[in-house]
């Protein structure tokens, strides 16, 4: 969408462009059509946003945080007069709420009152939501939760949803019956004053947060069951995640353990004290991947251990990941600090940037440096080339999403001497997006090999899927690829006739199944008699679900199908509820630098979102586009991505385009660049381009990787690492104190022409300098200009006195001794 100088006041125009800028629209696009002064103002505003802050002293930040936590603890303490056992139960919480208010009513009466209040509040909010904009109090659901917990008053709230919430099955289990639909994320929120003590309120408990997908706990009694956000667990409990799922365990001392998909962890020991004693945390990881951010502890005897079948890792104040891809193998990757990894009584220290692998029955491998990054795949096979860097694959290399040449992937691997890179994991992030199209229109002819839709010839083959009973004159949406010479090959044809809403489709994990409602990857899915469901689907299964988003916002499934090798993609349409972070139609998702976002999108707009689902269930959008609600225009609209063959006249992927003064051309486009084109097909067959926007520059680069290495030499303006020529630091941003022995991360980017640029060097670990023991210093008082001596007047009656340091020599001369008398 072309930003145009409108008739608004200058401050309105500037604000509109600022909002575009804040939404991620490139500056050069936002500057278009502005007056010279406004261009300068916008550029300056953009620059201000990037102005660096001064580096802060981490010890001050840490002390401030500790002070805030301590103060909050003091505020909460007087309220904790109930026993722990009482706090575990909802009834006790209810009683706690009632007691200070001297509400001498029966519990049953109170429940009735609360239920009525909740119902009224819910109805009122439901009505209000439809009639007036919601006041955004917190910046995000997570913040709202944090405020609710932190506030002594606000914590007396609990969400009530339009769905019935299952009661916990035990005193503190919090486990939901697997046959019930777990509490969904509320579509509407009301509050009722019921205390819910679900925080990591003491060192012997941890809290499960940021639950995504299917997360279950198992107690000593052997029962597994899905849990809700803020579930508290203790020693002896197990936690596991399903596919496309993740969770965070937060300990009392601030340490955090993140569980990735298909992971299982048991809490062996848990006494996560902050300062009044040693912090003791011991976990056993049976499978999957965990990431640990361990709070520093100065208490003697503190320990944070992760045990696997083959090894044990122990850390004090560090960040590291543990992968257990199979029973007899574990890999430790350290991001900060040091982890001591032990196997077969052999211990190796793994420092930041390093990795070690331990096979059961063997000692740990010698630590190697890691390499990670994102970039375009230009070669596959035994050796992959990603972001211009070669990676050897091996039997244990884990591929996610079937990446192909041209796709954009995440790679994680290791440097194995002599500059050999080994890939351990390659994750598809974005498909090669060139030469695709979508078209909406009526079916005019239907042949075996070709159809005509909206006047266009569409090729079909055995891979083309057709959804719905498509007939001549049916209204359909066709998606596919543009072949050489502009031939349109359909991959998917969807019937839009009688569509009750806007289409959606995604792959997710089944979390709950009820007669009319399912929960799939946290999204509430409605089913009805017309929904086709594969037989045998159970909780924990991965399914592909497609259907319609109805006008009332409900997601109605048309098909729910088992998928064995999940195509981890999603697509849906909804109203923009928030930008940064993005929430559309109630669904939160992430964006990346390469996410294509149509300019001008604002809160309240109707947009179509497509993207991929990462292993942990995170949704990452590859494209967010405005949905044109004017169906007459939509009927003949084609959107495709292709390479620019010529710009005078315009030709993209072999297709001749008509460009006029109304065409919005965004970006500095040249022949060879990849562009996204929106076209209206005129009755005479002309393809009139309404928008052409730059997707990738021809020389836009193949991506960047981060390479970890240890510094073997450094001097003024240069640094040396093994197996590389000396690196000139001119133009390279260096963060941290470079010295011999430093472990550094180099951000290496590769241009399309293969040239390599080192953009940044970050020091992530410096060896502790060996310091000589400090000279003995005199005992000092609080005021460092005074000292304490043992005063012996005339050699008798010795007693301790504090004197000015300037008088020390005189006292020593008459027989006094330094330090207090013993």
């Amino acid at each position: 969408m072309m930003p145009k100088q409108d008739q608004n006041l200058p401050e309105d125009t500037l604000q509109q462009r600022l909002e575009q800028l804040e939404a991620g629209v490139p500056l050069d696009v936002c500057l278009k059509d502005l007056s010279q002064q406004d261009r300068e103002l916008l550029k300056m505003a953009a620059t201000l946003r990037e102005a660096p802050s001064p580096a802060r002293d981490p010890s001050i930040v840490s002390a401030q945080r500790a002070q805030v936590v301590r103060l909050m603890g003091q505020q909460h303490r007087p309220k904790s007069q109930t026993s722990r056992a009482e706090e575990e139960t909802g009834l006790a919480s209810l009683w706690n709420w009632l007691r200070p208010r001297r509400a001498y009513v029966g519990v049953a009466g109170a429940v009735m009152v609360l239920f009525t209040c909740a119902l009224v509040a819910f109805l009122a909010l439901w009505l209000l939501r439809g009639m007036s904009p919601e006041v955004e109090v917190a910046d995000s659901p997570a913040e709202e939760q944090a405020i609710a917990e932190a506030s002594p008053v606000a914590s007396e709230k609990e969400r009530v949803t339009q769905f019935p919430s299952p009661e916990p099955t035990g005193d503190e289990s919090g486990i939901e019956s697997p046959l019930q639909v777990p509490t969904p994320e509320p579509a509407y929120t009301a509050y009722m004053p019921v205390v819910s003590g679900q925080g990591a309120r003491d060192p012997e408990h941890a809290t499960l947060q940021e639950i995504r997908g299917l997360v279950q706990v198992q107690r000593n009694d052997g029962a597994w069951g899905p849990v809700r956000e803020k579930k508290t667990v203790a020693a002896g409990w197990g936690v596991r995640t399903g596919a496309l799922s993740s969770a965070v365990l937060t300990f009392y001392d601030g340490s955090v353990a993140r569980l990735g998909p298909n992971s299982e962890v048991w809490l062996d020991e848990l006494d996560a004290r902050q300062a009044d004693g040693p912090r003791l945390v011991a976990l056993t990881q049976r499978m999957g991947e965990t990431e640990h951010d361990v709070a520093a502890s100065t208490a003697a005897g503190s320990s944070y251990q992760v045990r696997t079948a083959s090894s044990l890792g122990e850390a004090k104040g560090t960040r590291f990941r543990v992968q257990v891809p199979q029973d007899d193998l574990a890999r430790f990757n350290v991001d900060r600090g040091v982890v001591a990894v032990t196997g077969q009584d052999v211990t190796v220290d793994v420092v930041a940037g390093q990795s070690t692998t331990v096979v059961a029955g063997e000692p740990p491998d010698a630590p190697t440096f890691r390499i990670t990054g994102e970039g375009e795949v230009t070669q596959t096979g035994a050796t992959w080339i990603i972001a211009g860097q070669p990676f050897e694959t091996h039997a244990g290399t884990h591929f996610v999403g079937d990446p192909q040449i041209g796709d954009w992937v995440l790679v994680e691997g290791r440097l194995m001497g002599e500059d050999v890179r080994v890939a351990d994991r390659i994750v598809l992030l974005r498909d090669a997006s060139a030469n695709r199209f979508t078209i909406t229109g009526s079916v005019e002819t239907m042949g075996r090999a070709e159809w005509a839709v909206a006047g266009q010839t569409i090729m079909v083959d055995e891979n083309t899927s057709t959804e719905g009973d498509v007939q001549i004159d049916s209204l359909v949406r066709v998606e596919g690829v543009i072949l050489k010479d502009g031939v349109l090959l359909a991959e998917r044809i969807r019937l839009l006739d009688d569509a009750p809403g806007l289409p959606f489709g995604f792959t997710g994990i089944v979390q709950g199944i009820a007669d009319e409602t399912w929960i799939i990857s946290g999204i509430i899915i409605n089913v009805d008699d017309a929904t086709t469901v594969d037989a045998g689907i159970a909780i924990g299964d991965i399914v592909n679900v497609r259907g319609w988003i109805l006008q009332d916002g409900r997601w109605l499934a048309r098909t729910i199908r088992h998928v064995s090798d999940p195509e981890r993609s999603f697509a849906f349409t909804g109203e923009v509820e928030n930008i940064a972070p993005w929430v559309v139609g109630g669904v939160p998702f992430q964006i990346r630098d390469w996410t294509e976002i149509e300019p001008g999108i604002q809160i309240g707009d109707l947009v179509s979102v497509e993207g991929r689902i990462l292993e942990d269930g995170t949704w990452v959008a590859s494209e967010i586009v405005l949905v044109d609600e004017d169906e007459d225009e939509d009927l003949l609209r084609v959107v495709f991505v292709g390479e620019v063959d010529d710009i005078d006249p315009w030709t993209v992927s072999g297709i001749s385009l008509t460009v006029n003064e109304a065409t919005a051309i965004q970006g500095d486009i040249a022949v060879g660049d990849r562009v996204k084109v929106t076209v209206t097909i005129l009755p005479d067959g002309t393809w009139l381009a309404t928008r052409i926007e730059l997707v990738d520059k021809k020389d836009g680069g193949l991506g960047c990787v981060t390479i970890t290495a240890v510094v073997v030499g450094t001097g003024s303006g240069w640094v040396e690492v093994p197996n590389r020529p000396r690196i000139n630091l001119e133009g390279v941003t260096v963060e941290g104190d470079l010295q011999v022995g430093s472990v550094i991360v180099m951000v290496v980017c590769v241009d399309e022409d293969g040239s390599i640029t080192i953009e940044r060097i970050i020091v992530i670990y410096n060896p502790e300098p060996i310091k000589p023991p400090p000279p003995p210093s005199p005992p000092e008082t609080d005021q460092d200009h005074k000292v304490t001596v043992c005063h012996k007047p005339n050699g008798k009656n010795p007693h301790s006195i504090t004197i000015a340091r300037s008088a020390l020599e005189a006292h020593l001369n008459h027989g006094d001794t330094l330090g207090p008398c013993k």
């Binding site: 505003a45 401030q64 936590v69 909050m72 109090v137 910046d139 913040e143 944090a146 405020i147 002594p152």
Partner: protein, 164 residues
């Protein structure tokens, strides 16, 4: 208790950035940042009675502390224009300021030459990254007024930085 830490984690950097932009001394900025969160804890119970976003509420605390700070110091937040002139003369060509990265210290000095409410809006909008609506709620002004302050503030700032 964890939640208080979470709120601190979420906001402390930007609160510090905002305070530092207004007071210019790192140690003072650290002290005031700590005080902002101390007051947050003390007043959190009262927060629910407000209808402003939490972030706006937090910045109101910060704003009030900054005003108190200057009041106690007996200082005015404005500095003579001569000082702002000095900003231009310290070897920072206009082009280098825009085309490279503006040093926050230069912006701080230039900000002080702005009319206070313009300075507040510029700091909150661009140094903190707060949306316009929240700036309006934080400063208890209308959105139209904030838009005007933002526009005029940028023009004045540009002049002060010698970019006109």
């Amino acid at each position: 208790v964890d939640a208080a830490g979470e709120l601190y984690d979420r906001h402390n950097e930007r609160i510090f950035r905002y305070v530092w932009a207004r007071v210019r001394e790192e140690q003072t900025a650290e002290d005031l940042t700590g005080e902002v969160f101390t007051r947050m804890v003390g007043n959190l119970a009262g927060y629910r009675t407000t209808s402003v976003p939490f972030q706006a509420w937090l910045y109101r605390i910060a704003h009030n502390l900054i005003v108190d700070h200057y009041r106690k110091q007996g200082n005015r937040m404005l500095v003579p224009l001569a000082q702002a002139e000095q900003v231009r003369e310290e070897g920072n060509s206009p082009a280098s300021i825009v085309e490279q990265r503006v040093a926050l210290g230069q912006v701080q000095e230039a900000l002080e030459a702005l009319e206070p409410s313009q300075g507040e809006v510029i700091a909150l909008r661009f140094l903190v990254g707060m949306p316009l609506r929240e700036v309006a709620l934080t400063l208890d002004k209308s959105i139209a007024a904030v838009k005007g302050l933002q526009y005029r503030g940028l023009i004045t700032l540009r002049e002060q930085l010698g970019l006109e």
